[in-house]
């Protein structure tokens, strides 16, 4: 069921009521990347003094849109207006001179330089051609103090935590005269208190007439600071509406183009014997502290929490990828603490890493070689010589089962879309009989169709008796797929919820720091 954009408040109507000149306006933006149409005729406008939220799934085109607005990419079609005047952004620097600043999720800091050197990189103050270090230091301290960030200006970026680096990025945006501020999931690695301070800054910037484009997945943040929301899906504009008109169900529906019951399959819950038992696990880096967890056969167990809460590390520790300080990990009744990936694979456990390009797939090689890679020794070779016939047959069958597009198992992975790459990654776990799947962000950056396909696979695997540990930052996924869910906060287990207890409020309440009693 597709929801037509026309049935919703059209983009024009909201802006037209107030009729100020938008500080930034985009008309018919399209962006063609090799093989992908990332943006398809999108209109967007931003008024001075408003927070305009961009909402959509990973891969919906949000990042591409803000990259065009920040001057990183030039659109293949369409144009921009700045304060009513047509403008052709020549690059990030050009955008910055106009007062358009962006804080991306991927930081643009030089790790070997310190905070103040990064803040003024490319805009250094000089006296007679020599750096005026005293003045730079004074200004850096002033900006950090104004923003209330607890950072020392002379610390090296390399030594900062991710949250601290995020603060530097934000401070950098505030260094120049601002007219448009673009924030891409700025709270993803901030604590509640730090996030609250960011909101205050955003309010102040709004009062000064700065237009703010804000990307977030969190409904609570949208209501906290948003004025209007633009929803994108598959590179197209779905709707622009006022925050007041947008409830959670409607936003989700706009985002996915389906009602919730069509996205998430019903999974029969028939728990069996315990497969994975983690007791009192503490990792060497203290990313996980004194953690307990059980996954039974025939069960989808969720592991939720903020980025950096330690949920990924729990999964990695099960495969010897994270050093264990103390505690015990048992799989299928045997102690496997600190065992290698090879041992775990041989015993029937599969780990799906969160970043397919970074550590999941060999992008320069074919689908066939990628899928069979973990199983060459056990399934596809005799005395070191490959059985390429069996390999081809198996991979071809899997490609058909997963509906891989294009259906060419000899093409290298660079030629596939993100969704199909993710299918290949999942296929690696389907070659052999696997009892336990640890899936870390299995639907990151995929389109809705693939998302549904992956969920259906999770259902099939679970109903055929496999245990699944679903590590996810995607709240709807946790809410609608899991039978039990653990919520982590700063490496510790905060809550264990089962069945009806798994509600948005209860999960989210455990994401953040508890109010001081």
């Amino acid at each position: 069921m597709e929801l037509a954009a026309t049935t919703l408040a059209p983009a024009e109507s909201v802006g037209a009521a107030e009729a100020p000149t938008p500080v930034l306006r985009a008309r018919g933006l399209s962006m063609q990347f090799p093989g992908v149409l990332a943006l398809d005729g999108v209109d967007f406008d931003l008024n001075p003094g408003e927070v305009h939220v961009l909402f959509g799934e990973n891969g919906a085109g949000k990042s591409t849109l803000i990259q065009i607005l920040a001057g990183v990419h030039r659109p293949t079609e369409g144009g921009l207006e700045f304060n009513g005047q047509p403008v052709d952004l020549q690059g990030v620097h050009h955008a910055r001179t106009l007062g358009i600043s962006a804080v991306f999720q991927e930081f643009s800091l030089v790790p070997t330089l310190n905070v103040e050197e990064n803040l003024f990189l490319g805009a250094e103050v000089t006296r007679h051609g020599v750096l005026d270090k005293i003045e730079l230091h004074r200004r850096a301290e002033a900006i950090l103090a104004e923003l209330g960030f607890p950072l020392r200006a002379r610390r090296r970026i390399h030594d900062l935590t991710r949250a601290e680096q995020q603060m530097v990025e934000i401070a950098k945006a505030f260094c120049t005269r601002l007219s448009v501020l673009i924030l891409d999931e700025p709270t993803a690695s901030l604590t509640d208190r730090e996030a609250e301070r960011l909101f205050v800054m955003v309010e102040q910037a709004k009062k000064r007439g700065v237009g703010i484009i804000y990307i977030t997945h969190r409904m609570s943040e949208i209501r906290r600071i948003g004025d209007r929301i633009t929803v994108l899906r598959d590179g197209k504009l779905v709707a622009t509406l006022a925050v007041a008109e947008a409830d959670d169900g409607r936003l989700l529906q706009l985002m996915t183009g389906r009602v919730i019951s069509q996205v998430f399959p019903k999974i029969a819950y028939l728990p069996g014997a315990p497969l994975l038992e983690i007791s009192k696990l503490t990792t060497a880096e203290h990313t996980v502290k004194d953690f307990n967890l059980t996954v039974r056969a025939g069960e989808v167990v969720g592991l939720a929490g903020l980025v950096g809460c330690g949920k990924s590390e729990v999964g990695r520790a099960c495969f010897g990828l994270e050093r264990v300080l103390s505690g015990r990990i048992a799989f299928d009744g045997r102690d496997v603490t600190g065992q290698s990936v090879r041992t775990m694979l041989d015993r029937g456990a599969f780990y799906l890493p969160p970043d397919r390009r970074e550590e999941g797939l060999v992008m320069s090689r074919s689908v066939r070689e990628n899928v069979s890679l973990p199983w060459l020794g056990t399934r596809f070779s005799h005395f070191g010589v490959l059985d390429r016939g069996a390999e081809r047959t198996t991979v071809r069958d899997l490609a058909r089962r997963l509906n891989l597009q294009p259906r060419n198992i000899e093409a290298d992975l660079e030629r596939f879309s993100g969704g199909n790459q993710q299918k290949v990654l999942l296929a690696k776990g389907l070659v052999s009989k696997v009892k336990l799947f640890i899936l870390d962000e299995p639907t990151v950056g995929v389109d809705v169709g693939t998302r549904v396909a992956i969920y259906e696979f999770i259902r099939d695997l679970c109903e055929s008796g496999a245990g699944i540990l679903l590590i996810s930052s995607d709240l709807p996924e946790i809410l609608h797929l899991t039978n039990r869910t653990y919520v982590m906060y700063r490496g510790e287990r905060r809550a264990e919820l089962a069945g009806e207890e798994i509600t948005q409020d209860r999960v989210l309440a455990n994401f953040f720091e508890r109010a001081q009693a």
Binding site: Q32, P34, G35, F319, L321, S340, V341, R342, M344, L345, D346, Y351, P353, E358, E359, G360, L361, V362, M363, S364, R365, E369, N370, L373, P374, L376, G377, S381, G384, V385, L386, R388, R415, K428
Partner: protein, 339 residues
């Protein structure tokens, strides 16, 4: 009507572009080289000259196949030249006294000499492998270090003087013998090529070399012992360079510490011209051998055209850079054709 036909059938330029994307720049370069040099010198395309090219190219081809393994895993080996040197010196120093003491035991002398020399060369590869795989030393520093060490040892052992007194049979068997008019080193190279082709395409180890170089983290998460395969890449690279060293010693009939100096760069050039990615994970052994033959062909053609050897260096350098640029262009054309 004519427009419709034009729209349906891709033009000549598009077809050329597709061919370029599929086979790369090397076949084009080979064809151009053949045309240019055969027009410059009538002797170029004679069978005797082509056999000479084959013989000259064998040593580089063998070393390049080894170098390819290091490149596939995302590194490279700068010590291949000095591996050749130390193999040559150790082979000669083992054979010469044995030949003097037991003139009749030729077979034993040759066997022991080759084993000692190739063993010494391979040992350098083992050290490289340990440094890169176990201690995570960058391949650049590790192989530069072992190259210096090997060269130092080779010079110390010989005082910089060539080692004479090798049995005549060594040169006869491994250099002069011709079967069906083709010199024996060419057969050795062909045999090694078959082994390498099988290793890279039909064995687990070969597949893992590609995987480790393509994405070492993904390889690790697929349960592959990445250290072992990194180690093996350098060991096999050392072994192949050492075999080339032994063959070169048979050709020169002396043990020399000063040979192989241009091998590291020439072998990397042959690989890159043959389409091996410097970032690892991509490359075909057949094209690497063609790359080595191409370099041999260019050198031979320029010799015949009486271009002086210093200028030849310039030409080789220019061709290497052009090949890399052509490869970038190929990526670009590939992306454009896809749309």
């Amino acid at each position: 009507m004519t427009e419709q036909i034009a729209a349906r059938r891709p033009g000549v330029s598009v077809q050329l572009q597709r061919l370029f994307v599929r086979i790369g720049v090397l076949p084009f370069l080979l064809v151009i080289a053949l045309i240019v040099f055969s027009s410059l010198s009538p002797r170029f395309l004679t069978s005797e000259n082509l056999i000479t090219v084959a013989r000259q190219a064998t040593y580089l081809a063998i070393v390049s196949m080894g170098q390819m393994l290091a490149l596939l895993t995302g590194g490279f080996d700068l010590s291949v030249g000095k591996i050749i040197a130390i193999t040559s010196v150790i082979t000669a120093m083992t054979m010469a006294p044995l030949a003097a003491a037991h003139p009749d035991a030729v077979a034993l002398t040759l066997t022991l000499g080759i084993l000692a020399g190739v063993g010494a060369g391979t040992l350098v590869g083992v050290v490289n492998g340990i440094g890169v795989a176990v201690f995570n030393v960058s391949p650049f520093m590790m192989t530069l270090g072992t190259a210096t060490i090997s060269f130092g040892i080779a010079l110390t052992l010989t005082s910089g003087v060539p080692v004479y007194g090798l049995p005549d049979a060594f040169g006869t068997i491994f250099n002069f013998t011709r079967i069906f008019d083709i010199p024996s080193p060419v057969y050795v190279t062909a045999g090694l090529f078959v082994v390498m082709y099988f290793l890279l395409n039909w064995t687990r180890m070969g597949r893992y070399f590609y995987a480790v170089g393509g994405n070492i983290k993904a390889a690790r998460l697929s349960g592959i012992s990445t250290r072992y395969y990194l180690f093996m890449a350098y060991v096999l690279c050392g072994l192949l360079a050492a075999i080339a060293g032994a063959l070169l010693t048979a050709r020169l009939e002396t043990g020399e510490a000063n040979i192989g100096a241009s091998m590291p760069l020439d072998s990397i050039a042959a690989c890159v011209i043959g389409g091996v990615s410097l970032r690892g994970g991509i490359g075909r052994v057949g094209n690497v051998v063609l790359g080595a033959i191409f370099i041999g062909l260019i050198q031979n053609g320029m010799d015949l055209a009486q271009i002086q050897s210093y200028l030849q260096e310039v030409v080789i350098g220019v061709l290497l850079i052009l090949a890399v640029i052509a490869d970038q262009l190929r990526q670009f054309v590939m992306l454009r054709l896809k749309d």
